[in-house]
């Protein structure tokens, strides 16, 4: 009997998983370098590399050529149809993060202040960003995690670890669905209701926090045409939207304000009960300012800090025609002619780290020490304090450049915790490990997805050679050490800091 490779791998992984050896799983599921690895040789960055830098967390070795073969539009369509993409290898890697699959009751049963639950979510998020074949989906998950930001560190004794449920049942379930479904799921999410204090919003003590943010941040935008009066009315509509001690959504009718309300000009009749809140969500979903505000944020994420109006307009139009179908809006965005001429977009620390690991086909085992790097760089997933999510403009992050360089240096020298990043492995695979200039040329193309320009080439090769102190021969340790420092300069250059 001939056992297919997949069946064999599955059986092998099953055995390994039972024996609890996650290291073996990590090794078996690690992507292989393509047999022929030829990064772009063009003078300007390859257009497919531009797409992959924006629509994924950064191209993997050989991916630009792969996607070029498939074709840009076909690749985007495949990525949007993410359910049909086989992601079993990732599933194996995630098996040991048992809290990801738990029900709220299970999570609550651990008691409060359970750091391992929040740690598992962050580690799994990183692993998914690095390894998932549903690459555009993961980028969208990151976008919505910022849009519906929930801070893991709200206070010292919380049920905020229910973010794990929010991540699974709100963000991931609807990341490429309809915006209306996403918003409604978020409004029923225990973690969100707790984070923005709606769990204590009752008739006798109204709390307007969630009512304000759902309009200012989740739908209409700060200048979205609502008044302080609207905030108070929305808060009244949402009185009683709370959670129970099993970590599930509950509507407490005894807390609900049953009077008549007026929200954004719409009358909400008395005695509507929970229906009041649902009417509010419908009003917000269908408001034209929601389409514009969220589209602008999407374009800022995928295209430029200063979103081109042409792409925003196109997204708004698709939004209106499709009833907020996120797949269709993202397709419009990525295939818009102005997408290809987008201004440079600075990577934020998380994107920098993930792209470093992907570009070098590094192996990451989920070690929490790597999360500490993100904490140092101010960009731990679910760590942003205020509900507006991590900033998405370069002016905030550029001053972190020293931290970026430290991270890149640690990566190239294979000093990142839980990461195996072997530059020499790649060099040997493509046969450039013996000669300095060959190695610089190759990694220049791998990291930048184009040839080095003359200034870069002079700076990098000049740095390596140091007036002839270091010869081309990479057999001796001294020269090999110098080469790693050289590659740090290469990966620390401006081209790699941009998406």
């Amino acid at each position: 009997m001939i056992v297919s490779r997949r069946a064999f791998l599955g059986a092998l992984l099953g055995t390994v998983a039972v024996s609890g050896c996650s290291q073996a799983i990590d090794e078996l599921t690690q992507p292989k370098l393509p047999a022929t690895l030829i990064p772009p040789t063009s003078e300007n960055r390859h257009p497919i590399a531009h797409l992959l830098n924006r629509a994924t967390y950064g191209p993997r070795p050989g991916q630009v050529a792969d996607v070029e073969r498939v074709g840009k539009e076909r690749w985007i369509r495949r990525q949007l149809d993410y359910d049909s993409i086989d992601d079993k290898a990732l599933g194996w890697k995630l098996r040991r993060f048992d809290t990801l699959k738990m029900r709220p009751d299970d999570l609550m049963s651990f008691g409060r202040n359970q750091t391992f639950i929040v740690n598992q979510l962050v580690q799994a998020t990183l692993i998914r960003a690095v390894y998932s074949k549903r690459e555009l989906f993961e980028v969208m998950v990151g976008f919505w995690s910022d849009h519906f930001s929930i801070n893991h560190f709200k206070d010292t004794d919380t049920v905020i670890f229910l973010k794990t449920i929010d991540d699974r049942d709100v963000i991931r379930r609807h990341a490429l669905g309809k915006f209306g479904d996403l918003l409604k799921a978020s409004a029923h999410s225990p973690a969100m209701l707790h984070y923005l204090d709606n769990t204590v919003n009752e008739k006798s003590h109204p709390n307007e926090n969630y009512a304000r943010e759902i309009m200012e941040l989740h739908t209409l935008g700060v200048d979205g045409g609502y008044t302080e009066q609207d905030i108070q009315e929305v808060a009244r509509c949402l009185t009683g939207w709370s959670i129970n001690d099993r970590g599930r959504f509950v509507f407490r009718s005894e807390w609900h304000d049953n009077g008549k309300k007026v929200v954004l000009g719409h009358e909400i009749p008395a005695n509507g009960g929970k229906h009041d809140g649902e009417l509010v969500l419908d009003i917000l979903v269908n408001h034209p300012n929601t389409a514009r505000y969220v589209s602008t944020k999407l374009v800022r994420r995928f295209v430029a800090d200063d979103p081109p109006q042409s792409i925003v307009d196109a997204c708004v139009q698709t939004w209106q025609v499709s009833g907020g179908d996120i797949k269709k809006i993202v397709f419009t965005l990525l295939t818009h002619p102005d997408f290809d001429i987008a201004a440079p977009k600075l990577k934020r620390p998380y994107e920098l780290l993930v792209s470093l690991l992907r570009t070098t086909n590094a192996q990451y085992n989920g070690d929490d020490g790597l999360v500490d790097w993100l904490v140092r760089l101010g960009h731990r997933p679910f760590g942003w304090v205020t509900p507006d999510g991590y900033p998405d403009v370069a002016t905030i992050w550029a001053n972190n450049l020293f931290g970026y360089w430290q991270l890149e240096k640690a990566a190239i020298h294979n000093e990142l915790p839980g990461v195996d990043l072997d530059i020499w492995d790649i060099a040997k695979h493509v046969g450039v490990e013996r000669k300095a200039d060959a190695m610089i040329d190759f990694f220049g193309r791998l990291f930048y997805n184009r040839r080095l320009n003359p200034t870069e080439e002079a700076a990098i090769k000049g740095f390596y050679a140091d007036n002839g102190r270091f010869s081309q021969d990479l057999h001796n340790d001294n020269n090999r050490r110098r080469m790693l420092d050289t590659l740090m300069i290469l990966i620390g250059g401006p081209a790699f800091q941009y998406r």
């Binding site: 709200k154 304090v385 550029a398 430290q406 740095f463 420092d485």
Partner: protein
């Protein structure tokens, strides 16, 4: 020949082959931070925040000798009035005196370079070190509110293109909570930790290569590269072991002394420092306070005086604020110590403080006036910090820094 290219040689060489050519933007000679600031903005003070960890005994630091109840509550530990014999307080005004172990600070008070706000602290009633520190560092009055720090939010609200990477430093292994929320804050044990590599020749080569890589890079990344490379260069030129403080000031080798000395060096180097946080303590003197407190106070006062003298020419643009999570119980305990209390003292050093050594709306130490045996709070710490931010730093957003607090300046600064 093995001579390294000097930076100047290197620039000349690369400029010659460069298509960008603009030598001045390529590597300007060291320029102070305010040259980077956006046009029209007011460069603010450098703000140095010292946290006395453990709950410093404010009543034995700034002694209310005019309140006879102080001596009733502290028969053993009470510090005598200035005109008495023995271990007397140093007179600050006709009601308050300074602990003799802090005598190095007395002249700072008399010269109106320092003032202290008494019966000051957080309205939060927690007597837990962790919780009380947490509340103060987050700039709130309870567990609710943002989890970032008040300084982090201030820095975020005032950040601008070209900010120095050395803008905010916590002299510590772990970033102080006050600074949380500012994405570019550094936790450094020493200036010497700010480098690309420990090998100085290699670090120099790397900086030169990166300078060349980033020439012509658009803002804000290009400006960030320039200010980062300049900060690296500045730090490289600071040999902290050879640093000579002005006016014969001497720092000791404590955490506070090292932090203040490095802060002074960075200020003088115009490295773009705006906020530095330093910790000093442990002030948790439940027992044997008469042995434990004096060395802590001497370290505090002597190093602060050293910083004052060293920074004499800079006092018009440096503000130091000193705070602790709470004061200690008015009544001394049976173990020669004091337990966790509430009201404390917030110290402010600046060239702009009012001519009044102590600012206090004194609640009195009569048992009837105490709050569960503790000195009542008559001044909110956020009003002191808010006044410093308002009067001495670049425009900030107090509503963001101290959310929910209605700011009422106490008149600490002129």
């Amino acid at each position: 020949m093995n001579r390294k290219l000097s930076r100047r040689d290197f620039i000349r060489a690369t400029a010659a082959i460069s298509t960008y050519g603009a030598l001045r933007s390529l590597w300007p000679s060291w320029m102070p931070r305010y040259a980077f600031a956006n046009e029209g903005s007011q460069g603010g003070d450098v703000l140095v925040c010292i946290f006395l960890r453990g709950g410093a005994d404010a009543l034995n630091m700034v002694v209310p000798f005019g309140d006879e109840n102080y001596y009733r509550a502290r028969p053993l530990l009470g510090i005598k009035p200035p005109d008495a014999h023995g271990e007397r307080a140093l007179e600050l005004d006709n009601f308050f005196g300074l602990n003799r172990d802090m005598r190095a600070m007395q002249e700072m008070f008399t010269a109106s370079h320092m003032t202290a706000v008494h019966a000051c602290g957080s309205p939060n009633a927690s007597r837990s070190h962790f919780e009380a520190m947490d509340v103060i560092e987050r700039g709130t009055d309870g567990v609710a509110g943002p989890t970032s720090g008040w300084l982090g939010r201030h820095l975020m609200a005032t950040t601008q293109e070209g900010d120095s990477p050395l803008r905010a430093i916590g002299w510590s292994d772990k970033l102080q909570k006050s600074l949380h929320g500012y994405v570019s804050a550094n936790a450094l044990r020493s200036i010497a930790d700010f480098h690309l590599t420990g090998d100085p020749d290699l670090a120099n080569d790397m900086s030169l290569a990166l300078t060349s890589m980033y020439q012509g890079t658009a803002a804000p990344l290009g400006t960030a590269a320039q200010s980062t490379l300049q900060a690296l260069e500045t730090v490289r030129l600071i040999d902290i072991d050879q640093y000579k403080p002005a006016n014969k000031a001497t720092y000791d080798d404590s955490e506070l002394g090292r932090g203040l000395k490095q802060t002074a060096a960075l200020i003088k180097a115009e490295a773009g420092l705006e906020v530095a946080c330093i910790d000093h303590g442990n002030f948790d003197t439940h027992v044997a306070q008469s042995q434990l407190l004096p060395p802590l106070l001497r370290t505090f006062a002597n190093n602060l005086r050293a910083f004052h003298d060293d920074m004499l020419d800079y006092l018009h643009r440096v503000t130091v604020v000193v705070i602790s999570e709470f004061g200690r119980r008015v009544q001394e305990n049976g173990g020669g110590g004091t337990d966790h209390g509430h009201g404390g003292v917030v110290y402010v050093m600046s060239g702009h403080v009012v001519q009044q050594p102590i600012i206090a709306s004194w609640p009195g130490l009569n048992a009837d006036f105490l709050e569960n045996g503790d000195l009542k709070i008559t001044a909110d710490y956020r009003d002191v910090l808010g006044e410093i931010l308002t009067k001495r730093t670049a425009r900030t957003d107090l509503g963001l820094v101290f959310p929910g607090h209605s700011y009422q300046p106490l008149g600490v600064l002129r």
